[in-house]
């Protein structure tokens, strides 16, 4: 995963204070912080009256957006499959194979205890991994796209 780090990852500030300020408070930001990912047809294009829907379609087709979506899906799909299967296996084992689950591991601790605590541990680990992945690999690119899109749709009818 880490080797995919794109050029923008280098410049990511982990705790960008802008990220948690609502839109209305920062609409006048001049955009110098963002990387221009998109052509801006709305700015001065020949098209007289572009609709918001066209802009969303265009952003949707852009490589920058596809990259954000790809990164999100590539992390979430396998992670979700893994934890759902692991949980299902745990519940099914607990209800159908009590003999296996009762096998002692160390002292009073048996396989069932280890598996149960393992569920807690994997939940914490996956939470950490997801938050880290999203912060380092998606947040900046998504924020840039957000500004660009809002810049283009500002003042447009639908």
């Amino acid at each position: 995963m880490e080797k995919e780090a794109g050029p923008e990852a280098a410049g990511v500030r982990l705790d960008d204070p802008w990220d948690d300020v609502p839109v209305s408070d920062r609409c006048d930001r001049d955009g110098t912080g963002g990387v221009a990912h998109l052509d801006a047809p709305a700015a001065a294009g020949p098209d007289p009256e572009p609709r918001a829907a066209d802009i969303y379609l265009e952003v949707h087709r852009s490589e920058a957006f596809r990259e954000v979506r790809r990164r999100y899906r590539r992390f979430v799909a396998p992670a979700a499959l893994a934890f759902l299967l692991w949980y299902l296996a745990y519940v099914v084992a607990a209800t159908t194979a009590p003999g296996l689950m009762a096998r002692p591991v160390a002292g009073a601790v048996n396989v069932a205890m280890v598996a149960g605590l393992g569920q807690f541990l994997t939940t914490f680990l996956l939470t950490w991994a997801y938050a880290r992945h999203a912060r380092l690999r998606r947040d900046r690119a998504a924020l840039d796209l957000r500004w660009d899109t809002q810049e283009m749709t500002r003042g447009l009818g639908r």
Partner: protein, 530 residues
């Protein structure tokens, strides 16, 4: 329980009520006119605040007293619940929190209706949201009545009825006058109290066993009367195939249902950005996870120190395990320490109930006003302000919950929470996930997904052993049982997804490419988010 417990516990109850009413008036002073303020509390809570509030909304008295009680009685099988309740948050974190924050304004229906014909979708999702909330609410109200009666010793019907009425009245006051802002602060206060109480008791249990977990588990197994079986699964759900399937069904409903609970989803709108929504879920997973780890220690601690037999003698469902454990840890019956700890635990349980019902009432009033009223109002009629409707809806829902709570008082309603999760997983989750991730999803698909999950879930419960045909049923005298499982999730969740798929592929309507593009761009980037 004895008089001095009661006095102190009542004092602490009153103190908590006073604090919450102060919060309500303080935050209700002004800025209550806008929908933004009433439903979303101004959207400026920090991730940490919202994380505590989410944890406060989620950790009900059922988890605090119920799960540790189950562990005290049935050992390992009680733990299965806590695992399900926690793992569920991964679904919320990965699929729901950020995208819902970006796409919606106040309710679940906002997200689903974004690229559909608004009216039918809003009506359907609003209906299922209100159903989930009311089921959950009635379970909490009945629980509150019996809990307070149990903790205060007055098991008379009058005391229970007045508790139900009082809890109902308080939650309506919090919601109608304080809106989301006051409700959030009440959740935060409650979450802090609950965590502090759980930490204190856990530390006392661990100190008692000198930090030796092995010793704790062995003593618990010994005093439970089940020996080593107590530490392995099977005591409660290990019977025949039906009871095993039943637990799998409940486990699936717990994990998938959390992401469809309206009062959890509405919490993501109280923070400014999707990133903040994600960080609040990370906070809440930390809090909820450590809380459930502590309930495991407390449950085994109660079995080891109080003994399963004594817990069962006090309350057959094990709900008094933690109060009894507190009494024991404080020095036993009659000691000052025991009295104080007992009263504190009772007050925390009470605070927990009040906060949870307030959160659910707010979410359901939002569903009524923002979804049902907005889509069902006859055009021509006088239009009332949405917030005014929401306040009235909160009172109406409170009245319904009090009424049902009083009616169901003597019935065995333990299945209601499981049913609420099952409906959320069967009706809300398919509609939500399809609309977020399926390009071809259509209006008919959304409506079918909701009703195709909601109707089977409710009907299957009506013909299940929880309603008739078994000694523990709602109506033990009659028998129209057709479906063997108590929890419908295993059947109704796939039906919900299937109905959504069939509805979509048979739909004459072409999916709107532009609207899908807009929804996806907004979901993943936050462009144009409220």
């Amino acid at each position: 329980m004895r008089g001095d417990h009661q006095t102190l516990a009542l004092l602490l109850f009153s103190a908590f009520i006073a604090v919450t009413l102060f919060i309500t008036t303080w935050f209700g002073r002004n800025r209550q006119g806008s929908a933004e303020e009433f439903y979303a509390g101004g959207r400026l809570f920090s991730p940490m605040e919202n994380g505590f509030a989410i944890a406060g909304d989620y950790m009900s008295a059922a988890s605090f007293l119920g799960i540790s009680g189950l562990i005290a009685l049935f050992g390992y099988d009680g733990m299965l619940y806590s695992v399900g309740f926690l793992v569920a948050w991964l679904v919320v974190l990965l699929f729901v929190a950020e995208l819902v924050r970006n796409c919606g304004r106040f309710t679940l229906a906002d997200v689903v209706a974004a690229r559909m014909a608004e009216r039918p979708v809003r009506t359907a999702v609003g209906t299922s949201s209100v159903t989930v909330s009311v089921l959950y609410l009635v379970a909490q109200m009945v629980g509150a009545g019996s809990l307070v009666a149990l903790l205060l010793g007055g098991t008379s019907d009058a005391a229970r009825s007045w508790t139900v009425v009082g809890v109902g009245a308080l939650m309506v006051i919090y919601v109608s006058f304080g809106g989301m802002r006051a409700t959030t602060w009440i959740q935060i206060v409650k979450a802090v109290l609950l965590m502090a109480g759980a930490v204190a008791l856990t530390v006392l249990v661990l100190v008692h066993f000198h930090g030796n977990i092995n010793n704790l588990l062995n003593t618990a197994a010994e005093r439970s009367g089940h020996g080593k079986d107590f530490l392995a699964p099977g005591l409660r759900y290990g019977g025949d195939l039906t009871s095993r399937l039943d637990f799998i069904s409940l486990g699936v409903a717990l994990v998938l249902g959390t992401a469809g609970l309206p009062h959890i989803l509405s919490r993501f709108y109280t923070v400014p950005t999707a990133r903040a929504a994600r960080r609040s879920v990370v906070w809440s997973i930390g809090l909820i996870g450590s809380f459930y780890l502590m309930t495991i220690v407390l449950g085994f601690g109660a079995a080891a120190l109080v003994g399963s037999a004594e817990v069962r003698a006090s309350n057959a469902a094990g709900n008094t395990a933690i109060p009894l454990l507190a009494l024991h840890l404080g020095g036993g019956e009659g000691s000052t320490g025991g009295t104080i700890l007992f009263a504190v635990v009772a007050a925390i349980a009470f605070a927990t109930i009040l906060a949870v019902v307030a959160g659910i009432t707010l979410a359901s009033s939002a569903s009524v006003a923002h979804d049902l009223y907005a889509s069902l109002r006859r055009p021509g009629r006088k239009k009332y302000g949405e917030v005014a409707v929401a306040r009235i809806a909160a009172a109406g829902i409170g009245a319904v919950a009090i009424g049902l709570g009083l009616l169901a008082q003597d019935l065995n309603v333990a299945f209601l929470v499981g049913l609420a999760f099952a409906v959320a997983a069967s009706a809300n989750l398919p509609a939500l996930l399809y609309s977020l991730f399926w390009r071809g999803f259509t209006t008919r698909g959304a409506v079918w997904a909701v009703y195709g999950g909601l109707v089977p879930a409710v009907v299957l419960v009506l013909v299940s052993p929880v309603v008739s045909g078994s000694p523990t049923s709602l109506f033990p005298g009659v028998d129209f049982q057709l479906f063997p499982l108590e929890n419908p999730g295993l059947v109704s969740i796939p039906l919900g997804f299937l109905a959504g798929w069939i509805g979509t592929v048979t739909s004459p309507e072409q999916p709107d490419e532009a609207k899908h593009a807009e929804a996806e761009v907004r979901a993943l980037t936050g462009a144009g988010a409220a």
